[in-house]
Symmetry: C2
Subunit: 122 residues, 2 copies
DNA sequence: CAGGATCCGCTTTGATACTG
DNA sequence: CAGTATCAAAGCGGATCCTG
């Protein structure tokens, strides 16, 4: 077995749809991916700055999973103040059409008022 | 408020990506959608026959959520043996490119051995 | 036939504190 | 800076039984 799927799949016709969702369907993976498409390369705390509501624990977990799934590359610099860079892997980059489709649909069909702003509801 | 989002969103740049995933990201919604793209119209037990591992509870829940999200239409016939038909709504149909992108990517990039067959692993 | 109602457990997500 | 460890809450998914 190469990738022990995180959630059980039972191959109905649309199986690969679920499989793909399993890879990017976390609560944050989509955003992480999206940011990497935009920024090319990001460090741990750069993610945190851009995603204030995302805890370290979650960020680490998501990053680790995506790395394990071969979607992103993690480059560690052996320095005194640690430095780790994240960027899309070749495989990760193939997801661009998918993420773009997701975003395009969302932009066009999601009512803006269902997108709760982080700290602007008063 | 039109759609009280099922999971909290905190609008980072790629927010709508997550929002879209929130609509189709359940464990079964992708398949349900996919089946409706194929079959056009399906009844409750027809879903169940095609998705043996999906419980009524889950099926009902998924169907209800997708209905609440305006993705599918639910047509009830007031008959003695109840009859309910499900089909994609106009809004639901707009998801086709998304689902197809998801499936296309999965078909091309998901290693087949990570797609556990329902009852064929021996 | 098409659900509704309950009960239960796992997984995900989150808040906090600590470390090399 | 870039995590790890622990603890607790919530949500998701499931099994079973019941009903109009």
């Amino acid at each position: 077995m190469s990738r022990p799927p995180r959630h059980r799949l039972d191959c109905a016709p649309g199986c690969t749809v679920e499989a793909t969702l399993g890879l990017i369907g976390g609560k944050w993976k989509g955003v992480v991916l999206y940011l990497l498409f935009e920024e090319e390369v990001l460090r741990f705390n750069e993610f945190r700055r851009r995603l204030p509501n995302l805890t370290q624990r979650m960020l680490t977990a998501q990053l680790r999973e995506m790395e394990a799934d071969g979607l992103i590359d993690r480059q560690v610099y052996a320095q005194v103040p640690p430095k780790v860079e994240y960027r899309l892997s070749a495989r990760g980059r193939t997801l661009e059409p998918v993420v773009r489709a997701l975003k395009a649909w969302g932009d066009a069909h999601i009512p803006p008022d269902s997108l709760a702003p982080p700290a602007a509801a008063a």
